[in-house]
């Protein structure tokens, strides 16, 4: 059950400013967020100096492997850090108002403004109450509506999230619904608080592809209808692409690269993003063999010096272990490097950067040597396989492609 639903009702300055019953987005600004957890009696910082912004009605994706700190970041935004977790520094502003991380106001200020959809809908719902009563509890307790009104509101929300036979769903218990329907109930519950910001923690990982497509479509639809701001966490780049305009790639508690999602996937400016893309099994990619990222994620208690990815990075130079990393505009770093490096200057700017797509224009990168990534990005664009022709009618004979496909996957 969402935190907003559990806490007793009280009016906060922010919510009373909005007319009741409307849902609309607000810009989110996260600045310098650092989170530590307690491990074996020691405090270990697991998220370092994280900053990002989501415009009102915008959607931001955080992509990362398990252990990258993406879920902790989301929980900090919701002020729901697990025991032992603590925000060390940083601030979160929603619609110009700062949200505190602890104390009485932490929950109260979020109640009408931030809601969260969890990964596993079965454990997020109470098994002994009907799903309808769990959703109706929100308008009843948060907005002080009558039982009858709350019931009607829950049914209305069920209709909004596309649950079939909303009246019948109201009196169903969680175990009687399928995974996709449960996730719709959770989304309805999140919307019941009339939030400005919706946080999604891998909401489709527990679902089938068909249900996943439906839930992603629903989230997109709701976002466009109400202008909700969205922060979406996932380990699946392809899923993030379906929902988010912008995304950050997170590794060991740092965002290593940030920019428009499509550009990020087409021409990454950080070796980690590239490695992640190369490691993923993509449905369209029949020619390339996925390459695992060598090594493993470093222990957060004992992080490598310099760039956190340098021990596993194929592009790393000796410098990468010494210099500290920060997110900077990717094109600036390339231009600087070219000015300093005579070899590069000799190659001529037009040869190299002209072919890097405009996607890099607004890209932020934490890579210290992204000029090497220019080549990689160009190569990546060149090898991008055309989408498979599923159901496109008449096609040329496929013998050659089939041969490649066989050769590509065998002998791994």
């Amino acid at each position: 059950m969402s935190a907003a639903a559990v806490a007793p009702a009280s009016t906060s300055a922010a919510s009373s400013a909005r007319p009741a019953g409307t849902v609309s987005g607000a810009p989110l600004r996260v600045e310098g967020l650092s989170i530590s957890v307690e491990r074996h009696g020691r405090r270990v910082e697991v998220v370092h100096d994280l900053s990002f912004e989501v415009p009102a009605g915008g959607s931001f994706g955080i992509v990362g492997e398990s252990g990258s700190g993406k879920s902790l970041t989301l929980r900090a935004l919701m002020a729901l850090l697990p025991k032992g977790g603590r925000v060390e520094s940083g601030s979160v502003e929603l619609g110009g108002l700062e949200l505190p991380f602890s104390g009485k106001r932490a929950r109260a200020d979020r109640r009408h403004r931030v809601a969260m959809v969890f990964q596993d809908p079965l454990s997020a719902l109470d098994p002994v109450h009907t799903v309808g009563s769990q959703v109706a509890e929100v308008p009843h307790r948060v907005f002080g509506r009558s039982r009858r009104e709350s019931h009607a509101r829950a049914v209305e929300l069920f209709k909004m999230v596309g649950l079939p036979a909303p009246e019948r769903c109201y009196s169903a218990f969680p175990h009687q619904l399928s995974g996709g329907m449960r996730q719709r109930v959770l989304i309805a519950m999140a919307l019941a608080t009339e939030p400005q910001l919706l946080l999604c923690d891998e909401p489709t990982t527990a679902l089938d592809v068909t249900m996943q497509a439906q839930v992603l479509e629903l989230l997109n639809d709701l976002r466009h209808r109400f202008g909700l701001s969205l922060v979406f966490v996932s380990h699946d780049l392809a899923v993030v692409r379906e929902v988010c305009e912008r995304a950050g790639v997170m590794y060991t508690g740092r965002i290593l690269e940030m920019g428009a999602t499509t550009g990020l996937l087409e021409a990454p400016s950080h070796p980690y993003t590239l490695a992640l893309l190369k490691a993923v099994v993509d449905l369209d990619d029949k020619l390339t063999i996925p390459k695992p990222i060598p090594g493993s994620i470093p222990d957060p208690a004992n992080p490598p010096s310099g760039c956190p990815f340098h021990p596993r990075c194929t592009f790393a130079t000796a410098d990468c272990a010494d210099r500290s990393v920060e997110l900077r505009p990717a094109l600036d770093v390339v231009t600087e490097a070219m000015a300093a490096d005579s070899d590069w200057a000799g190659m001529g700017e037009s040869d190299r950067t002209a072919s890097v797509p405009r996607a890099w224009a607004e890209r932020l990168t934490a890579c210290l040597e992204p000029q090497r990534m220019v080549e990689a990005a160009v190569a990546n664009l060149a090898t991008a396989a055309p989408p498979i022709a599923c159901g496109s009618g008449h096609e040329p004979p496929r013998t050659a492609a089939e041969g490649d496909e066989q050769g590509g996957t065998r002998g791994v």
Binding site: L237, D284, P290, R398, A401
Partner: protein, 345 residues
Amino acid sequence: MNRRGRQLRETNRVEPAASEEAGTPLLGAEHVRVEFRAERRGHLVAVDDVSLSVTSGEMLGVVGESGSGKTTVARCLAGLQQPQSGTVTLAGERLGARRTSVQRRAVQLVFQDPFSSLNPRLRVGTVLRQLLVAHRLRQGAAIRNRCVELMSLVGLPATALDSYPSSFSGGQRQRIAIARALAVEPAVLVADEPTSALDVSVQATVLALFADLRDRLGIGVVMISHNLAAVRHVCDRVAVMYLGRVVEEGARSEVFNDPRHPYTVALLAAAPRLRPETDRLNVRLAGEPPSPMARPSGCEFHPRCPRAEARCTVEAPLLLPVDRGASHVAACHFRESHPGQASSR
């Protein structure tokens, strides 16, 4: 006891190479039907008339939504579930309700969640040793050597034998689970969603391991998955299941490049992609699969099918070859034309 052990060791292997000519199914299910009794409401047909088979050195992918019966089929193949009717055969031999230890060893399972399928209180080496001892596969020093060999087979260092499962990541645990399955020298691995509990970045390595084992050991692999990309990457043949039936089956390239059942097309359309797709069909499946307790009449897919016509509501299509050849079959009245043409109607 000792003599019996030796005999076992000599005759125990269901030799993939020994299965007469190539193409003879190593493990197969024929017309398998599984029913579960539902409280007060009669029975539920989870798997209906399913025939699937895998040969040695082949990987068969079984895809479908949850509730399509794919896990139940896997359990039938592994002998964990007894079908109401139909048979399961191993190297041409019909398997009875109780399998012999040799038959049991020949088919091994790899489970979905490597966090719950490994005993947290046993070292990896202990798990493997117990298997080798219980099945009398090795003795004395050979036990340790075999354990090291198994670890290298799945790409883990020998030092992993002395650690507990808790010290490994998800991908490494799945490797351990695979090593455990391989310890008894099976002829077929049945993997039930082996990568869905793993990060996308490590899924590829586990899939590559299955492909590698298939090629190196010549074992057959049945991979149950709802992840189409995973199946496309490693499987030689693919069967698509819907509501307890196989609706399409064929070689990988046939099913993925030229799907003939609208359900296969819809599954492909639903998968998220890394790149913008130009010709992805906009076939979004509305709603959920119907309950197996209340099967639709005629073709069971017709309520969700964009191509459905009056005929589909009354006449159930049979699983028949599409135009090209006998290996690609689909259960659709319109299997001879490409479903892509349906969108223009």
